[in-house]
Symmetry: C2
DNA sequence: GGGTATTTGTCCGTATGTATG
DNA sequence: TCATACATACGGACAAATACC
C-alpha cells in the first residue's frame, strides 16, 4: 500500500475562485484518481496533513473526503485513513477532454418540414390550415380554472395519481361525448393521451405484431401511416378521393384488421363520409372482425348543418375505436387527445396497459374537466365556430369571385378549418407554392397526404382559420395573380 | 322508383319536446332508413308535402332534408326531389338496440395495485415513498408564471409548435443540467417526454428490434422491465444489492446492448454507485458498444454531502443516455421527463423521431422554462430539500431509537425520499404490511422491484417525504409494536 | 311537340325566445 | 341590468324541372 501521505499531494486552492474550497480539493483528488496520479491502494494524506499543506481548515478537508467516500473514490478505514479504490480509468472523461462537442447535425429536410409552419417575413397572407386565430385561446377562463384547481385541490400535485378509479376528466369526457357526439361508453373506456400520434400508437400496440397490415385513407392524416410504419406495420392506402365504391373496395381488399378513417370530416378533402359508405364500413368491420379507428377531429365545425354524427354512435361503439382531441377547439399546444376503447377490446387493452400511468399533466386534466363540466368548453367551441365561419365565408366568396370553375375546383366547404382546392393551371407543387409566395401568400401542398401513391397535381389546402378576415380578399387576389396572371 | 310521396310518410312531431322540430324529422327519417322502412330509390315527400302533413313550416323540413343530404342518407336531385340512397343497414345501431352496455370488467389485481397508493381510512401513519408533502407544490409561482406566459405569449396556444429550432425548455434544461449535473450537451439533444415510462419507451425504440436483450438493475425501478417486456425485449436482471463485483459481472455477462441504471441514487436501495463501479460500467459500454440509460431521478436530495455527479458527466455523454424528471422536485402530476441523447445516437434518433411532435403541453413547457430561467425552480428544490431532510432525520432517529441492528437493517440513508429497510422478524410481505396496517401504519413492500428472481424476505420502503414530522415517532412506535410486539 | 301550369327545390328575409357577456 | 348574438321556426319570391294539355 503506497502511502501518499509520505510524498506531498499537490493540492492547490484558489481562494479567489467562486468554487468553494472543499469542492476544489474534492475535484483535484478526483482528477488525480481519473488521471492515475492516485491509484488503488494509495492512502490519502491525513485530514490534518492535507489541511496544513493546502492551508485550509481540517473540516474543509473532511468535507471533501466525505464527498469522495460517498461517491466511492476512497474507502474510509475507520480510525486509520482514506484509501483509494482501484478503478479502471480508461474511459473516464477528465476535464481536459470534455470540450464541448459539436452539435449533432440534423437530417436534411427536417428543418424545411417544420419551418413551413413557422413564420416567414415574406408572407403577408398565410392560409394556414390547422392553426387557431391568434388570441383565441381562452386565457382568462383557463387561468381562473387554474386558480380554482390550486385552491380546491392542494394535494393534487403532490400525490401520485390513483388510477384505480376513473379520473375526473374521464368522467367529464364521457358525459360530453355522450351529449355532443352520441357516444355511449363507460368512463373506464376513455383513455387520455398526450396527442393524437400517441393515441394512434397506443391503439396500434393492441394489434402488433399479430396483425401486420393496417389501412388508412389516402389521402389522409399523415401521422397514421408514419406512426404505423415506425412500429413495423405495413400500411395499405385506401383511396378517399375517388368515390364511395373505390373506397369500400379498397377497404374490403386491404386485408387489414384496422382502418384509420375520418368519417365526419375527411382529411384533407374535408368531405363527409356518406351514410351508405358508413354502413358498408361497419359491415366490413363486423364481418371481417376488423376495427375502425375513427378520428373525429374537427367534427365540431360545421357551417351549414348540425355537426354530423360520429361513426361510433352509428355502431354503438362495438367495432369503432373513437379518437378525439382538443387541438382544434382549445389549442394544439395542449397535446391532449382521448380514445374510447370498445368493450370487446378492453381486455386486450388491460393486458397491455393495465398498469400504465397517464401521460398527460394531471393538473391540466383537472382543469379541462372543470371547463367541460362548467360548460365553458362548449361555449368556447361555439364562439370559435362562428368566428371560423366568418373566415370560411370570406374565403369561399373571394375564391368564387376571383376564380371560375375551370381554374379552381373546391371541395370540403362548409366545415372544418380549410378548403381543399385543385388548381387547374398545370403547375406542379413547388411552382404553385413558390408563385403564391412571390405574391406574398402562403398556401399548403396536399402532396404529403398521399403515402403509397403519387399525389395528383395541383391539390392544395387553403386554411381560413387563422388569417384575418380583412386579409382574405387581397390574399385570394394575390393567388389569382400568381396562378392566372393573364386572367 | 317507389314514390313515398304517394303514401304518407308517418312523421310525428312533438312540439313539447326539448328536441328541435327539424331534428325530430331528421331522426325519424334516419330511423326509417336504418330500419328499412325507407329503402334505396325511395323518394322523400316534397318539402311542402311533409311540411303540411307534419304541421310545420317548409324551411323546417328543408333543414332536416339538408342534414340528411350532407350525411349522405339521401341524394338531392336538383329541382326534383330527394331520393334515398341504398344502404346495408344490417349493422347500424338503431335507438332500440343501443342500450348501455355493462361497463367492461377490469382485471383482478389492478384495483389493488393502484389503491395501495390511494388514501385509506385505517392509515394514520403513511410512510409513502414517492409522494411530496401535501401543499409543497409552488402554486403561487406556478400561477404567476402561467399569467406571465398568457400575457407574453398570446400566440403560443394558437400555433402549432415549430420544432425546427430547440424550444425554450430544451435550452433552459440544457443550461440547468450543465450547472446542476455537469451535463454537457447541445439543446437539440434534449428530448422532453411525458413521463419516465414514455422516455424509456422512446429510448427502447432506438434499439428495437435488432438488439433484443436489455438489462436493468434488480431490484430496480419496475417501469423499465415492464415497458421493455411490453415492447418485446428480453430483460436481464443485474443484481444491484449484492455488491460491486456481482453487479459488474452481471452487466458483462448480460449480453445486453442497453443497461438501465440509477447511479446517483439506486432505486430502491438508495445507495450511490461507487466510482470504481461507474468506471467499470463505462468501460463495458465503450468496449461492448453498449449504452447506459442513466435515470438520475431524485439525485437532487442529498443530506450529508453535495449531490453526487451524474454518470453522464463522468463519461462526457458519449455512451450514457441521461434521463431526468420533475416528479420528485415539482410534482409527479406534471408528467414531465427529459432525455439527453448522446451525439452518436442522434442519427438513429432522427431516423425514428425526426418528425415527431412533442407530447408535453407547450404551455407547461414554457412555464417550466421560465421557472428554471428565473431561478425559482432551483430555489424551490433547495427549500424542498431542507424540508425533506427534517423528515429524513426524524425517521432515522426514530428507527434507531425503536429498533436495534438485529431487528432492522437500514440502507440508503442521507438521500432521497425513503429508507430501504430489512425487517428481520421472519415475516413475509403480506404479514409485514398487514401487521403494520393493524397498528395504523402503512409501509411498502420492495418485492415488486425484483422482476426475474424471487425477492428476499422483509425488504420494505419507508418513505419520509410526505408524512408529517410530528407523526414520524408515533408511526415508528406503531411499527415496532407491529413487528416486535414483545420488544 | 311545344307551351303552360304545376311541382319541386332554392334563396331571400324576418320574428322570437334564450343565452351570453 | 341590459344590449347583443344566436338558434329556432316561419313566410314569400324565384328558378329549374316536370307533367300535362
Amino acid at each position: 500500500m503506497r502511502n501518499v501521505g509520505g510524498r506531498r499531494l499537490d493540492v492547490h486552492v484558489d481562494r479567489a475562485s467562486d468554487v468553494p474550497v472543499y469542492q476544489q480539493i474534492y475535484r483535484e483528488i478526483c482528477a488525480f484518481v481519473s488521471s492515475g496520479a492516485l491509484v488503488g491502494g494509495d492512502r490519502l494524506p491525513s485530514l490534518r496533513q492535507l489541511a496544513q499543506d493546502a492551508g485550509v481548515s481540517r473540516p474543509t478537508v473532511e468535507r471533501a473526503y466525505l464527498q469522495l467516500e460517498v461517491e466511492g473514490y476512497v474507502e474510509n478505514v475507520p480510525q486509520s485513513g482514506f484509501v483509494v479504490r482501484p478503478l479502471d480509468a480508461r474511459f473516464l472523461q477528465t476535464t481536459a477532454t470534455s470540450a464541448p462537442t459539436a452539435p449533432p447535425k440534423e437530417p436534411a429536410g427536417r428543418g424545411a418540414f417544420f419551418s413551413q409552419f413557422g413564420s416567414d417575413a415574406r408572407v403577408t397572407y398565410d392560409f394556414a390550415f390547422a392553426q387557431l386565430p391568434e388570441g383565441s385561446f381562452p386565457s382568462d377562463v383557463w387561468l381562473s380554472a387554474a386558480r380554482d384547481v390550486m385552491r380546491d385541490e392542494p394535494g393534487l400535485a403532490a400525490r401520485y395519481l390513483d388510477e384505480s378509479r376513473p379520473s375526473h376528466l374521464q368522467r367529464s369526457l364521457c358525459a360530453y361525448l355522450r351529449r355532443a357526439r352520441g357516444i355511449t361508453c363507460d368512463p373506464t373506456q376513455v383513455v387520455i393521451m398526450p396527442g393524437t400520434a400517441a393515441a394512434i400508437a397506443r391503439v396500434l400496440r393492441l394489434f402488433a405484431p399479430r396483425d401486420g397490415v393496417v389501412a388508412g385513407e389516402e389521402p389522409g392524416y399523415r401521422v397514421f401511416p408514419d406512426v404505423s410504419r415506425g412500429m413495423g406495420f405495413r400500411v395499405v392506402g385506401v383511396p378517399s378521393d375517388q368515390g364511395a365504391q373505390a373506397f369500400l373496395d379498397g377497404v374490403r381488399s386491404s386485408g387489414a384488421s384496422l382502418l384509420f378513417a375520418t368519417p365526419s370530416h375527411q382529411f384533407p378533402t374535408g368531405e363527409v363520409m356518406r351514410a351508405d359508405v358508413r354502413a358498408g364500413l361497419l359491415a366490413w368491420a363486423h364481418e371481417d372482425n376488423a376495427w375502425v379507428l375513427e378520428d373525429d377531429s374537427c367534427s365540431e365545425y360545421r357551417y351549414d348543418v348540425d355537426p354530423v354524427p360520429s361513426l361510433q354512435s352509428l355502431d354503438g361503439g362495438r367495432r369503432v375505436i373513437y379518437l378525439g382531441n382538443f387541438s382544434k377547439t382549445l389549442s394544439p399546444a395542449l397535446r391532449v387527445a382521448y380514445l374510447v376503447i370498445p368493450p370487446d377490446l378492453m381486455s386486450r387493452y388491460y393486458d397491455a396497459f393495465s398498469l400504465a400511468m397517464t401521460e398527460v399533466s394531471v393538473i391540466e386534466q383537472e382543469l379541462l374537466a372543470r371547463l367541460i363540466d362548467g360548460g365553458e368548453y362548449e361555449r368556447h367551441v361555439r364562439r370559435l365556430g362562428t368566428r371560423l365561419r366568418h373566415g370560411h365565408d370570406a374565403l369561399l366568396d373571394a375564391l368564387l369571385r376571383e376564380f371560375d370553375g375551370t381554374q379552381l375546383e373546391l371541395r370540403g366547404a362548409n366545415a372544418g378549418m380549410h378548403l381543399f382546392a385543385t388548381v387547374c393551371n398545370g403547375m406542379g407543387y413547388p411552382e404553385l407554392l413558390a408563385s403564391a409566395l412571390a405574391q406574398g401568400a402562403r398556401v399548403y401542398a396536399a402532396e404529403p397526404y398521399w403515402f403509397t401513391r403519387a399525389a395528383p397535381r395541383g391539390r392544395l389546402l387553403l386554411g381560413f382559420s387563422s388569417i384575418a378576415v380583412k386579409d382574405v380578399a387581397p390574399g385570394v387576389a394575390a393567388l389569382r395573380r400568381a396562378w392566372f396572371p393573364r386572367g
